[in-house]
Symmetry: C2
Subunit: 244 residues, 2 copies
């Protein structure tokens, strides 16, 4: 599985809360390998555990390295993230355009995606070690994302590019054309009976009703419910007729 | 501008850190309107300010409402997020498939995207008020995202769907075919001169060299650098010949 070959590398991280949030974001998106390069003395490890919540296994299994080069020595692709522009950072890609090719490399060998320290990002020397530069699309009014948010965007794009996500399926099957038409015929008849249609506008109004019921998919259960409404209105009006 | 019509609504949020991180994520993605429905007594507002960093303007401009219905009364679309499955939540969309149509509504009227409390999410009564249900793709091993991370994914998809992001442009123009070919001719000649080619394999190796230089775009500046390398090698070998 490609996602297992992906290493998330945090360079000189400062805050335990961010490290923990990174663990949670990784596990949310099916990644598991965390490497910390020279975490700073300011890191509060208790806070990291708290923010990791159910991803403490990733925090506990982290690897630490003293420098970036040794953290990625065996990686065939090294993607660095940057929020800054600059002459060495112009050839950047978006996470969305980058994810499929990065994942293709991860199919057969280790790869790494690198995030710099909260205050300073990656240095030019660290950018030089990268085979790709990523820049997360963001507003010019405030382009700098929180570290764990930046990690999430990259992991989310990798998870989606991996195609592993299956959206939940509607358990009720979609109604057939004939089933929908039987329901619409019942509604047309019912709307006639209750006097909803002005005679010369009946066709026009029925088209509008059809349009309302065609805005999205209708399941067999939905059609049964709408048939039940028409049937019940018919029953109620018949029953009441003697009173009016 | 469509993004200005989008309201981010947090229902009964518990943690100030999350509220602040939501403000930052919103501003990163060009959104500005935050509504809090019945924030809980546990909220630490100082922590919210700290985590908002440069998005304190969004925190300060927040609107508070006592219930969800009044928070979204004027909204033409109300998208609710859920991490749970259930009979009322099966017809969910992904943020990516949802964003373009939601944004189209936001072009002319207010719309809202709703996030439930950290511990319990949205209730069935709140889900009933929504016109769409969103589910963020995530790993079955740990599907539940942190609140501010869930907000970021939705805002990121809206920002990208809005098409407002322009990737940084390479300042050096791309090299023309003829420019690249002049460089490759200089390299071929230089590789001959230094004895790199075995005679019967020269064409084959030159194809490999061409392939290396064709993996990505080459700018005019890149081609100038490669020409300079070939020229300098020629100079160095000529100069040294008398010595060897």
């Amino acid at each position: 599985m490609s996602l297992e070959n992906i290493r998330v590398v945090l360079v000189r991280p400062m805050y335990g809360g961010n490290i923990g949030s990174v663990c949670r974001a990784m596990k949310n998106m099916g990644l598991s390998k965390l490497v910390l390069v020279a975490p700073q003395a300011s890191v509060d490890w208790a806070e990291a555990r708290m923010m990791a919540v159910n991803a403490r296994d990733i925090l506990d299994a982290r690897v630490e390295a003293s420098d970036l080069a040794s953290a990625v020595a065996d990686c065939v692709q090294v993607a660095g993230t940057t929020g800054r522009e600059g002459v060495y950072r112009l050839h950047s890609e978006t996470p969305r355009s980058w994810a499929p090719t990065f994942l293709a490399s991860a199919h057969s060998a280790p790869v790494a995606v690198i995030f710099g320290a909260e205050d300073s990002g990656l240095s030019n020397e660290e950018v030089a070690l990268c085979t790709q530069i990523l820049r997360i699309p963001s507003s010019p009014d405030y382009p700098s994302l929180n570290l764990s948010q930046a990690v999430l965007v990259c992991c989310y794009e990798l998870f989606l590019a991996g195609g592993g996500y299956e959206p939940p399926v509607e358990k009720h099957p979609e109604a057939s054309h004939a089933h929908r038409e039987r329901m619409l015929a019942m509604w047309e008849s019912m709307l006639h009976d209750v006097g909803f249609f002005e005679p010369e506008k009946a066709d026009h109004m029925m088209m509008a009703v059809r349009r309302i019921f065609s805005r999205g998919r209708l399941s067999e259960a939905d059609v049964q419910i709408l048939m039940g409404v028409a049937r019940q209105v018919g029953w109620a009006t018949t029953k009441r007729e003697p009173d009016t």
